[in-house]
């Protein structure tokens, strides 16, 4: 089994410093956060440039080149609702360290991102919802199947569709958590790859509680077969949990210093 893949989430316009950096084309805050995440063990770096309706294409190309040139062609997840920006980003993307990830498609308005990924030989995160959260796993799996068929029809390998069950916030949707975990198991049983924005589950919780929830949820999800997640790599407890789960799942060989490597 392959090791768990972490996608670092900290380059995002939701952070004021990053938003300003994108607007002013100021490399430093973006490079700093990228370096921190890579040092902490992130495999992919998510680049959320926001909708960027006016300058998305130029902005994404700037970010892709900035990060890949500085960090040895680090593999990236291109995160925006602006399709043209994603395509522009892929044009300048270097695949040496891994295919680009399109973040994201869904079974609703963003269904056509699957074709976009297929046309550009990219990985796509396929969110199992249409318009709003799926009401149950029957609906989730129906979305999953529709997106999988779409991908295969356009010539994608099934392994390049990473299905996202959509992690739900515990504070408010506590009774739905097991259902999300069961959906991951269904992806696994079908032989599919999976991912998701893990920290959704701990939204609104006190700062010192969030790493605990994120780690526990991650461990339970890995047990169900989750193959990757979008995470904060600077959360040490979480990264240690992932490394330990990878050992227990025999994805990586144990050595006493396993946490340090």
């Amino acid at each position: 089994m392959a090791k768990f893949i972490t996608i670092g989430e900290r380059i995002s316009v939701t952070a004021p410093a990053i938003r300003r950096a994108f607007e002013e084309r100021d490399p430093e805050p973006i490079l700093t956060r990228c370096e921190q995440q890579l040092k902490a063990g992130a495999n992919y770096i998510d680049v959320n440039i926001g909708p960027a309706e006016s300058d998305g294409e130029e902005r994404m190309q700037w970010a892709v080149k900035l990060l890949q040139e500085r960090f040895d062609n680090v593999p990236l997840a291109l995160d925006t609702s602006n399709m043209k920006a994603i395509e522009a980003g892929i044009q300048v993307y270097n695949r040496e360290k891994g295919k680009p990830i399109v973040n994201s498609a869904d079974a609703g308005d963003r269904f056509n991102r699957i074709e976009l990924a297929a046309n550009n030989d990219a990985i796509v995160i396929a969110l199992c919802s249409a318009n709003g959260i799926a009401s149950d796993n029957d609906e989730r799996m129906a979305h999953c199947q529709r997106m999988l068929e779409e991908g295969l029809m356009h010539g994608m390998e099934a392994e390049d569709l990473w299905f996202d069950p959509l992690f739900l916030v515990v504070k408010g949707m506590q009774d739905k958590q097991m259902e999300v975990l069961e959906a991951i198991k269904m992806f696994t049983d079908m032989g599919l790859n999976s991912t998701g924005g893990l920290s959704n589950n701990s939204n609104g919780m006190p700062k010192h509680i969030r790493p605990i929830f994120d780690s526990c949820m991650l461990a339970m999800a890995m047990m169900q077969g989750l193959t990757s997640a979008i995470v904060n790599p600077n959360d040490q407890r979480l990264m240690e949990t992932i490394k330990t789960c990878d050992i227990i799942k025999n994805n990586n060989l144990y050595a006493d210093s396993y946490l340090e490597i």
Binding site: A2, K3, N251, N252, L253, Y254, A255, D256, S257, E260, I261
Partner: protein
């Protein structure tokens, strides 16, 4: 319907490590496929053979073939020079058997003097094997690495108990190559590589000795360790196991009764020399197929055969 075999070349590869200097230097490792799987991708550097020379010379040698090969040699240095002419030899492995404090307890100074004399006389890369006493080996490796600076030698081996000492001297201060030894314990093999790398020894200066045994004598442990190391290094891209593997074959095979029992004691077994050669050939071949990038051997006929074996599969 034509059959097209699926290829299995990996994105990861074994580190390429250079031993020795000049025209006779060799590179081991560098491949991104399983041993001899040339049908998946070309193999960057073929496996090599180092000839083992004891610091005791021919004392205790039971093989007529080995004695005949070194006929006329008056010293260990003579033997080392002669060994370079062995068909299929690429390196000389000087084995300080007599340094053992529980045996002859040859002094560190004497070991260094011998190592220097050998290094001055031979052109092939030099491997230095200790006496298995942890403290003494660390002293020998330290002093020999210092004395042979610039020769790019490989010391065998740093172990869990003395890796700091050996890694810091041979690997860092004197810029030699370090063999990390773990007795068929794959977790320890990985851990030692991590520790050496944390010391600052570059990956390209590290080889692994993941254990050794003769065919028939618990070889399954070695075989499975080799298989698992290569699987982790290539299929799982485990950087801490991508060091090339060096396996001492002859010290094991010439110590079992199949190779040592005199002809008068087991007449039905036939020639002792033949038994020793076959044992060495069989064990070396099995190590190479498992993933050894360099094997250490003694008998000229066995070395020639394994060299031919390697070439025939490349």
């Amino acid at each position: 319907m034509a059959f097209t075999p699926k290829k299995q070349a990996f994105n990861a590869k074994i580190n390429a490590v250079t031993l020795g200097t000049g025209d006779k230097s060799i590179v081991i490792g560098g491949e991104n496929v399983l041993p001899f799987y040339t049908f998946d991708a070309p193999i960057a550097n073929k496996p090599r053979i180092a000839v083992e020379i004891s610091d005791k010379g021919l004392e205790g040698c039971v093989s007529d073939g080995i004695k005949a090969f070194y006929a006329g040699c008056e010293s260990v240095v003579d033997m080392a020079v002669k060994a370079q002419s062995m068909e299929g030899a690429s390196a000389i492995c000087l084995h300080f058997e007599s340094a053992d404090p529980n045996g002859e307890n040859k002094s560190v100074e004497d070991c260094v003097a011998l190592a220097k004399a050998v290094a001055d006389a031979v052109e092939m890369p030099i491997l230095v094997m200790g006496c298995k006493n942890i403290e003494k080996d660390a002293q020998i490796f330290n002093a020999v690495s210092d004395a042979l600076q610039g020769k790019n030698i490989l010391v065998l081996s740093a172990r869990e108990e003395n890796y700091k000492n050996v890694g810091a001297s041979a690997g860092l201060a004197y810029n030699q190559k370090v063999g990390a030894e773990s007795a068929v314990d794959i977790n320890l093999a990985k851990q030692l590589n991590v520790l050496l790398s944390q010391l600052g020894v570059p990956d390209a200066s590290v080889c692994m000795n993941v254990g050794s045994s003769a065919a028939g004598y618990g070889f399954e442990y070695l075989s499975s360790t080799l298989d698992r190391v290569k699987a982790a290094a290539l299929a799982q891209s485990d950087k801490q196991l991508q060091m090339p593997i060096v396996t001492p074959v002859s010290p094991e095979t010439w110590g079992v009764k199949e190779s040592m029992s005199p002809e008068e004691e087991s007449p039905e077994w036939g020639s002792l020399d033949e038994r020793g050669i076959e044992m060495e050939v069989c064990t070396a071949s099995a190590c190479l197929v498992g993933g050894s990038n360099l094997v250490i051997m003694r008998h000229p006929a066995a070395v020639a055969t394994i060299s031919k074996f390697i070439d025939s599969l490349m």
